[in-house]
Amino acid sequence: MSTTSPDLATGPLTVSPGGKRPKTFEQQNRRLRWLMLAPALGFVGVMIVFPLLFTLNLSLTDAFGAVNSGRRYLGLQNFADALGDTRRFWPALGRTAVFTIGAVVLETVLGLAIAMLMRKAFTGARLVRTILMVPLLATPVAIGILWLLILDPTNGIANHLLAGVGLPRQEFLGSVSQSLYVLVLLDVWQWTPMMAILLLAGLSTLPEEPEEAALVDGASAWQRFRFVVLPMLSTTLFTALILRAVDALKTFDILYATKGAGGGSDFEVETLNVYAYGLTFDYQEYGLAAAVLVLFTLVIIGVVLVLRRRSGRVS
């Protein structure tokens, strides 16, 4: 990076046009790197900045029905309405919290356990790693429909298996009280392997020496895990946690595929994402929906900031 001889700035696609003073490498690179970044940044910017401003603007209006019909500015009325709505908004926020915390905690604990199980080389490791990729690559809608068949209260294999070990028949997704928890478990089935893959990759980069030292010092397996491995793994752990939390907060496909558009007859799986979707595309309450989405986005940003802060403190 320190070679800055101007003589070398005469490659086939040099940035400096003839006539002008030839540019040094650093100058050339400074312009080049922005040129290389521009299309991607531009694309994401255009696709995201205009929509966010549009949504922010909508959230201040009474837009309803056709998005382009006349609308009146209400100030922060939509936000007041959403935050004062104990029938749909707050329960949806609560379900989002239950779903996200439940799924992410279980996935992290189980993922870490699986990663530790697979840490030492064993025959068939390749096959197991391939198997781990299946749920996270499979189409969520297909997965949702598959579980509908398995969990069907009358004809599904799940109840058949429960009966086999003497447990009572369950309604699963047919039940108002069970649906959210069943969906947490489906999310755990689908995303624990991803957690395991990420943590396994993290484990494989750790140095061996601290553990050997702990072993020599007579630390037990649990002590070596808790006080040596876990602290070293914390960066990977929190990165995986943030990735997973953001996606869990925004879960949509599998909720929609298993419980339909409204989140069930009693809104039992209506998370903030499903609620905002319903307001937008089923009821066309664009103004209120936009306000809910702004609040939802703030929740996600809050979660990311809290997790990042926490990860900084640990590592």
Partner: protein, 280 residues
């Protein structure tokens, strides 16, 4: 690695070996069993599908696949998914790979992480404005809109994976190329890009899979002719909720290509999936 091996193979008389094997087996069974059940159901008659006592031993029938394929809609939407996936992945790679090179080579992580905003924002908050904008120019329901929306997912994904790959390439090769008279861009084009080809292929496969699986964008932005596979599968469930065999055949058809990618590209896909996360 000598010390590592010594630690790992140190003889310890504990029952952990068999226990560990059993635990790993259970994990694999829990993951695989539902998918096996789906594929099996695709080959069952509708009576067999809804009879939980019919396990994995039955005389398979191809009727479900025949019916589903005879409809034509599944094949057409698979075609749509393939078109949208290939085009959006290719275009996304063209703009994301050079960007990843710039971020990786010049340590512009702050700029690179700007793109991650795209992962944080809920997709629905983008859909209404997109719908509005694209309706104005009469594009809703077109392939163009689907490609653009799927690119929006693919660009950050490819960028994120490729930053790690470019950081892993020794910068000396590009520097040597420059002293041999190539411009910085020339060095990228002729040295870095070919070396990053395996990474690009991995990122592209993952981007294609995420497009293939994407439900929400196509649910809103596609029309009857441009519907992608997940949307067709979902409308299928509301029209024919009792045709479990057909549904499972359709679900199998759309899952199999992805599973094949997992089987054949396991090593590379894991590298791609973990490239961003472990370095972040």
């Amino acid at each position: 690695m000598a010390t590592a091996t010594a630690l790992r193979t140190a003889p310890r008389r504990t029952p952990w070996g068999p226990l560990r094997a059993a635990a790993i087996t259970v994990v694999c069974l829990v993951i695989v069993a539902p998918v096996v059940w789906m594929v099996a159901a695709a080959f069952k008659t509708n009576v067999q599908v809804t009879d939980p006592t019919v396990g994995l031993v039955f005389s398979p029938t191809l009727d479900n696949f025949r019916n589903v394929l005879a409809d034509g809609e599944i094949l057409r939407s698979m075609g749509n998914s393939a078109i949208v996936g290939v085009v959006s992945t290719a275009l996304a790679a063209v703009i994301a790979v050079p960007a990843a090179w710039a971020v990786g080579r010049f340590a512009m992580h702050r700029t690179g992480s700007l793109v991650l905003v795209a992962r944080i924002v809920p997709a629905i908050s983008l859909l209404v404005p997109w719908y509005y904008l694209f309706a104005q120019i009469g594009l809703v329901g077109s392939y163009t809109v689907l490609v653009l929306s799927h690119m929006f997912v693919a660009v950050p994904l490819i960028l994120w994976i490729m930053i790690g790959f470019f950081e892993g390439l020794p910068v000396e090769l590009e520097e040597a190329a420059r002293t041999d008279g190539l411009s910085a861009f020339g060095a990228f084009l002729r040295i870095a890009l070919p070396l990053a080809a395996p990474g690009t292929a991995t990122a592209a496969v993952l981007a294609f899979i995420s497009s293939w699986n994407n439900f929400m964008f196509a649910l809103i932005l596609s029309d009857e002719d441009t519907k992608t596979m997940p949307v067709t599968l979902f409308t299928f469930i509301s029209y024919a909720s009792t045709d479990w065999g057909g549904l499972m055949a359709a679900a199998t058809l759309m899952t199999v290509p992805v599973l094949l990618a997992a089987v054949f590209g396991q090593k590379y896909l894991v590298a791609g999936l973990t490239a961003g996360a472990t370095k972040g």
